[in-house]
Subunit: 398 residues, 3 copies
């Protein structure tokens, strides 16, 4: 497929019975699909050679996938245009609008290079979150291999390497998922404190915080992916050979005791075990709801109040349930000496740091004494600036 | 965030090379995002003070989320406009259409209050279904706490309170899910009988039925949510401490018998148990399909025949499978006296009433002798009204 | 519901303060919803009698669902128009575009019949994939009933018919899912070889390959459905009566041995079993990702490079993981004589043929020596045709 996109040249105005004539330079898949779509929209289409000697070229639309064009999946998508002739650009922009696209003017043809490079990027907004996910996974993988597999081999001289496939994966996925879910909400809390400190919401956040907040959605979706894996890994446990063998040997031990007393049923364990599962299930359920609202077609149907309710209220509830789920799992492990193999803290302890901090920060922010001023700031009030200076457009991130 | 939305004032016509000038009153997040988007669409934007001294003000767009604006998720969304100057309103409506919005004219500025209140509502169309869900859940929670936990404590003097976390939740979720699924299809059946009785589809339904039918989608999605919870709760069972203990004690009992005969395998139990699961799984699978088609981006790609096939045929099949699933679960419990603790019927019996009624009503409606006249009515035929009087637009709910 | 769709007749131009007047023939649900929507868009609507005596009828929009109209789910949808009066057609097309639709001109009114028949088709593009799914399922159902149930009854005289409900379904679903997933990618590989052989991408593929490639998405989604069923069926296993009985009898056998040696733990079995599950889980996870990107609202937001990465790279990774999952399941069964009941190969062997072939073909295509020329062909290079002949529009399938 050719990546140099499509150059368009409007030849005739759309007035009168005669439909508008568009000249497409580029006969790649994209050019062909675009041509078909334009014909369907009542344009007349001409395909030009690769070397336009003309006159009034508009460069753009190359971020579209031929596939999306052929399937009419253009509604609301952004496209970039650049060109030296304002009129031609407006004609193309109008055509793009007819296709249901949203046009972003990138200025003169000098921006063509930038516009051309755009579709070469692979999921640019996903890069940072993916790095975070891979980094955390790699760290906890090594950490757990040493703490579990190697430790068991060195100290107890037993080979439990098979656990890498599922047991380990089922420790890594929840840990990474919980941390990344917390990382979605941490920047919002930090931003809140920053706005309180600055007394305004209209001054830009530092770049690191800005970039962080812009990839919250991706962080959350990756966390959801890890959570889904964790759920399936956990549900498969009873079907595993190793688990079944353990059950059988448990029974055999009970049998060897050869006692007449019925099996002891520990109510505390039952409570703890069921609460662990219940919290996890509810947390995951809310997490799935969050994920659904991040689907463009769903999120787009929410008013801002509904969206903020889902993303903020439900989001924090999800974080709280997941963190509680993890606390119940860690339970009394913190106290047992056997937990600290080779004097290292357990993974369940490490992964609780970020979520706990996030929840504490949020707790402070929702205290009436802190929340009231913050709300006023977020509604546009500024501590040390008169109202009437707020005329011009300023970027804002909340 | 400010909720008084955005007032717009078109200052110049869009003709000529000069792009149209829009004046936005309101510098909140929404105003800012809207400004950015308009700039991208080739408008010139001016931000006005909070107190417009100008006349031709159009009020609206405040149902949009700044988030949706920033992410170009506007395709096909409805927005409300009101204003006293028709021309200005048309200009704004045209702009909104360019943004991919669908405009609903709410008349003069006197409607501004109504338009302003709209975004303050939180999921208005979800309220009733949520009440139903909460009501049913609360009722069955109390009912089951008394029937299971309290009963066991009083009669057998055993503490099984830990079952509240999962066992009880796993009884409440399927019960509520099944009833609410039936409540999605009951109004349609009632409407059918009403149309048969009236002999026309063009007279409005009573308001209660009208409102009921308008929230079928939400009822169904909530039911799907409960079904999902039920599935996860059921799949986690074998991993539960209490369940494992029961397995072990079962084995110990078998061992104590100390017989040489192999373990008795009851084919009927195997059949019943597997059918129970199979029906549940297939029902849930179809239910998920129904949920997917209710996604705007999916449902919107279906022709009316496809949509009615999915929502009606597949929907009733889902209801049938789920009800059968529940009947197999209840099985012979109905006959055992032990089922009627304290002379109360089991939850599995209570939850079967609504679905059974719905399925019977539908069964009657699909009988050829009943179905033929109904179909003619739904195609516009009216028992006691001449054809040619059908010129003007009438509301219809089917 | 009436299927003869809607005929529209624009009576007045939209210029001036007076809004455009549209005359709708057809007072069915669709006509009514359309009227409402047009009124909302600022048109004036008149409903005409069934027998237009007029200047200029445009036929179309009947593929829309009244439901989609009422819910404003029209963005980016295709509609067909036909009519004898070009001007009237353009007016209607413009109106349709305002509704966010994409118009396809079907020419004169003589095409009305074709346009009318369109909405009567039920999921036309799903037909072939559904036939494949049903065919495969039916074949493997019979094959497995004979190989498992009948065989056990005839040879060992034991009745395991209860296994039809879940055990058999859980063998059919994965087998069909894997084969259909492979069938999504096989045509692409064949097309690659065809393009290499022809030395161009601009000549049409044979019709069978063309149709095959056009239903890849549906094949994949059906495969995903079967995979989901397989996952739930597998997760429910430990909760099944038959499974629990087997566990108990296993223990009883262990007890009867009455040895003092601890239960033997086979590390190879543990490794193999966990790898089986891990590969399956990861494969399913990627499969779900693929399914999500096939949602219009998600896929439409991807640039072609992102989309091809997901559908090709992730797709082949999914196929590879699933095939490996199946190979590990089959494992050493191939060697055991007991596998070949009545001299028939096991289902796990049959279902590995298509995926293996597909993966081998792909492997050849990605070899640098093969891949380089193919890439050049796909970028428009043609072995035996001069560049400058490529001016006009040609259909292309890749």
């Amino acid at each position: 497929m050719k990546t140099d996109g499509v150059k368009l040249h409007p030849l005739a105005s759309g007035d009168g019975p005669e439909p508008e004539l568009m000249c497409i330079f580029g006969t790649g898949d994209l050019g062909r699909s675009l041509g078909l779509r334009l014909l369907q929209c009542g344009y007349r289409v001409v395909y030009g050679s690769r070397r336009p000697h003309s006159s009034a070229v508009v460069k753009g639309l190359n971020t579209l996938s031929a596939w999306a064009l052929q399937n009419g999946l253009l509604a609301g998508r952004q496209v970039y245009l650049c060109g030296n002739n304002e009129e031609a650009k407006r004609d193309v922009a109008e055509m793009a609008t007819k296709l249901g696209l949203t046009v972003v003017d990138k200025g003169s043809l000098s921006a063509a290079k930038e516009v051309e490079d755009f579709p070469l990027q692979l999921f640019p907004e996903w890069r940072m979150p993916l790095y975070v996910a891979f980094g955390l996974s790699a760290f906890f993988f090594l950490y757990l291999v040493i703490r579990d597999i190697v430790y068991a081999y060195v100290e107890n001289d037993e080979d439990i390497s098979y656990r890498i496939m599922i047991s380990l994966a089922n420790k890594i996925t929840p840990v990474v998922s919980l941390i990344m879910l917390a990382l979605c909400y941490l920047p919002g809390a930090i931003a809140g404190f920053l706005q309180l400190y600055r007394g305004t919401k209209y001054s830009r956040f530092p770049n690191w915080l800005d970039r962080w907040m812009l990839c919250r959605k991706q962080l959350g979706l990756l966390a959801l992916g890890f959570a889904l894996l964790h759920v399936i890994y956990s549900l498969i446990i009873p079907a595993r050979y190793s688990d079944r063998q353990r059950v059988i040997s448990n029974v055999l031990n009970e049998v060897k005791k050869n006692t007449t007393t019925p099996l002891y049923f520990d109510n505390t364990s039952a409570w703890r075990n069921d609460s662990l599962y219940a919290l996890g299930i509810l947390g995951f359920f809310l997490f799935v709801l969050l994920g659904l609202t991040s689907l463009p077609s769903v999120g787009g149907t929410l008013s801002w109040r509904e969206f903020s309710f889902v993303q903020s209220t439900l989001g924090y509830l999800t974080l709280f349930l997941s963190t509680a789920h993890c606390y119940i799992y860690a339970w009394d492990r913190f106290l047992r000496k056997s937990t600290y193999k080779w004097y290292t803290p357990p993974d369940s302890m490490l992964c609780l740091i970020v979520p706990s901090v996030t929840l504490v920060l949020k707790l402070i922010l929702v205290l009436p004494c802190v929340n009231r001023p913050l709300m006023r700031i977020r509604q546009g009030w500024e501590r040390n600036r008169p109202k009437d200076e707020m005329g011009e457009l300023k970027a804002t991130n909340m």
